[in-house]
Amino acid sequence: MYKYDEYDHEIVGARVAEFRDQVNRRLKGELTEEEFRPLRLMNGLYLQLHAYMLRVAIPYGTLSSDQLRRLARIARVYDKGYGHFTTRQNIQYNWPKLVETPDILQELADVEMHAIQTSGNCIRNVTTDQFAGATAEEIDDPRIYGEIIRQWSSLHPEFSFLPRKFKIAITGAEKDRAAVKWHDIGLVMKRGPEGEPGFEVLVGGGMGRTPVIAKTIRDFLPEPYLLSYLEAILRVYNEQGNRDNKYKARIKILVDAIGADEFARQTEAEWEKMKDQPIDVPAEEIARIRSYFAPPALPVLDAQDDAVDALAAKNVMFKAWLKNNTHPHKVPGHVAVTISLKPAGGIPGDASDSQMELIADLADQYSQGDVRVSHEQNLILPHVAWRDLADLWTALDGAGLGFANAGLVSDIIACPGLDYCSLANARSIPLAQELSNRFADLTRLEDVGPLKIKISGCINSCGHHHAGHIGILGVDRRGVENYQILLGGSGEEDATKAELLGPGFGADEIADKIEQVIAVYLDIREEDEHFLAAYRRVGPAPFKEALYAAA
C-alpha cells in the first residue's frame, strides 16, 4: 500500500499544527463558532446530538495492520472502546473531546493517516472496491488512482469551499462494488482502443431527498488527463452549483437542471483550456504510486485443504462462511475474506478495540498485513490462502467475528440515526439490531439468500436506502418515528432507485412488515431467484397487497 514520503508527512503534519491552532483560537474566542464550523468539518469534526464526532479518513478503504492497531488504540484511549466503520469506508468515533482532537490527529499522522476533508463542502475521501488488488474481475487496481485523487484533492485552493460536499468513487472492475453511479463523480476504469488505460466518467449521482443515478459524460478519458478533467468538472460545479438552498446544492441538481449534455459540453470547454496546464501528475508519478500497489507475491496454491474440509463437515457456520464470506482471488488457492461486523443484535459497522487488534494480528498472519473496509461496513482480509481458512475462522469466531452473513439479509447497512445524529428523524440502529435478531438463524438466512437491507434515519440517506433491495427510511410523522419501505434499489452496475411502497409504519410494526415483505418474496420466487430479480419480475403489487390490503 501507499507509503508517505517526506512531503506527505510534512503536509499532514502541518495540518495537525493548523488544527491545533484553530482549536486554540476557538477556545480563546478568536474564531466564532460560525467560522470554526467549516474548519473543524474539514478535519472531520462534527457536533452531534450528545458530543463531538470525529470521522477519520481511510483512503479508498485500505488499511495496514499497524494503522488498524492505531485506530484501536484511539478507540480505547479517546473514546469508549469502539469505532464505527461507515458506508464511505471511513471510521467514526462518537465520543472524542474537542481539546483532545488535535492529539488524535497527531496519533493518526504518526501512522500516515488523517481526517482531512472527511466532511465539509469539499472533495471527500475517494471510495472504491473493497476487493481492489485482489479480485480477478478488475482490469487494474483502482487504488492507484484513488491515491492520485487523494493527493490532488487535499487542500485544493479552488475547491475547498464548494456549494456542497463532493464524493468520488472509482471501480477497476465492471462488477461495481463501489456504487459509482450513486456518486457526484463515478469513474469506471476501461481500456482504450490501443489497450491504453482510461476511465468512463459519470457525473451527478447522489442520494438524499432527490435520488439520481449518475450519467456518463465521457465514454473514455485517457489516464494522463484524469486530474485536469476532474478539475474542469469541479470548476463548472463550483461556479454554477446552487448555494442558496442546501437541498439543491449537489452537482446532481445542476446536471439535471442544465442537462447532462450541456454539462458535458461545458466541462469539455473548460478542460480544453486547462488540459495542458500542469494539473495532471507526470507519468513517473503514476508509476511511483503504482509501485506501492504492486500485487503481493502470492504462491499458486491448492484450492482444497483437508483441515478446511474437515471443519466444514462438522460446523455449519464455517461451511456457510466459506460460501458467503469469501470472494475469489486473482491468485489460485487464495480468497478475499469478509469479516462480518453484523452479528445478530449488533450495531452495523461497530468494532471494539480488541476486535480491531485481533483483526490486525490476523491480517499480519494471514493477509499480508492488509485490511480493507467495505462500504457495506464490514472489514476485509484481501489475500488469504484457502488452507488458512479454518484457523482464521476459528480465531475470528472466538471474538464474535465469525458470522457467515456477508451479502445476506442481516448484513444490513444502517446510518447512526437518532441515537447519535442531530439530523435524524428516527432510530436506525435498534431496527437493524431487531432485524438481525429475527434473521439470526443460519438456515433461514441462507434460505432467503442475497438481500441488501439499507436503513437511513432521515432523507439525507447516509444509510443508502435508495440503493437497498429493501430500503427503510425513517421519517417524522407528527413527532413520532415512522418508517417507509422502499423496494428494488441497487447500488451496483445495474443501479436502480428503490421505489416507495406506500405509507410508513410505526416503530413497533416495521420489523414485522419487513418479515412480511420477505415472506412474499419466498412465496413468489422462482427456483433460486434472488430478491432483487424477483422484485424486478413482479413489481410492487404483491408486496403492496400483503402489507396494506389486510389493514
Binding site: 503536509i11 493548523e18 478568536e30 467549516p38 486547462m274
Partner: protein, 168 residues
Amino acid sequence: MPLLSLSGIHPTDWVEFADDQPVDEGAYAAVSAARLAEDGDTLFAAAGQVAAIIDGDADGDVLAPYIDRLAAIWINFKAFNDGRGFSLALRFKRDMGFKGEVRAIGKVIPDQAQFLARSGFDSVEVAEERVAAFETALSRYTSFYQCTINGDMSVAHRRHMRADKGAA
C-alpha cells in the same frame, strides 16, 4: 484596514468611489464593476488608474472589455465559505490573462490565506486584529499537492525533478 501582500507585490493604495460619486481627476480610483460596465470609457479617461470591485459570485466576463486597461480587480467575498471567488480570480489571471493586482476583500478568514495566494490573489484586506493570524496562516504549508498559478509546484512534480537531478 491593513493590506497584506500575498504574492510579494506591494499593494497599491486606492481611493474607493461610490457609484454616485464623481471620480477625481487622475485618481487611483476603485469603482464597482457595474459602474464600469455602464460608463467605462469616461472612467478610464478621468482616473489615473482604475480598479474594479466585483462580487465573488459575479460573472467575470463583465470585465473582459477592460481587462487590459484595469490596474487592479478587487473580489468581494460576501461569505467566506462561498468558494466562487477563488474560481473568479483564476478566470481573470489564467483564462483572461489579467496581469494587474487581484485583491480579496470582504469576509475572508485567516485560514484561507494560502488558498487565496494559490488561486492568484496578490493581496488581501484584513481586519487589524487578524493580521497576525493571517501572517501565520500564510506560511503554514510549504509543500502542496497542486501546481498553482502563484508558482507553487506540486509535490508530484517536485518528486521527479529531484529524481532527474539524482540521475544526471
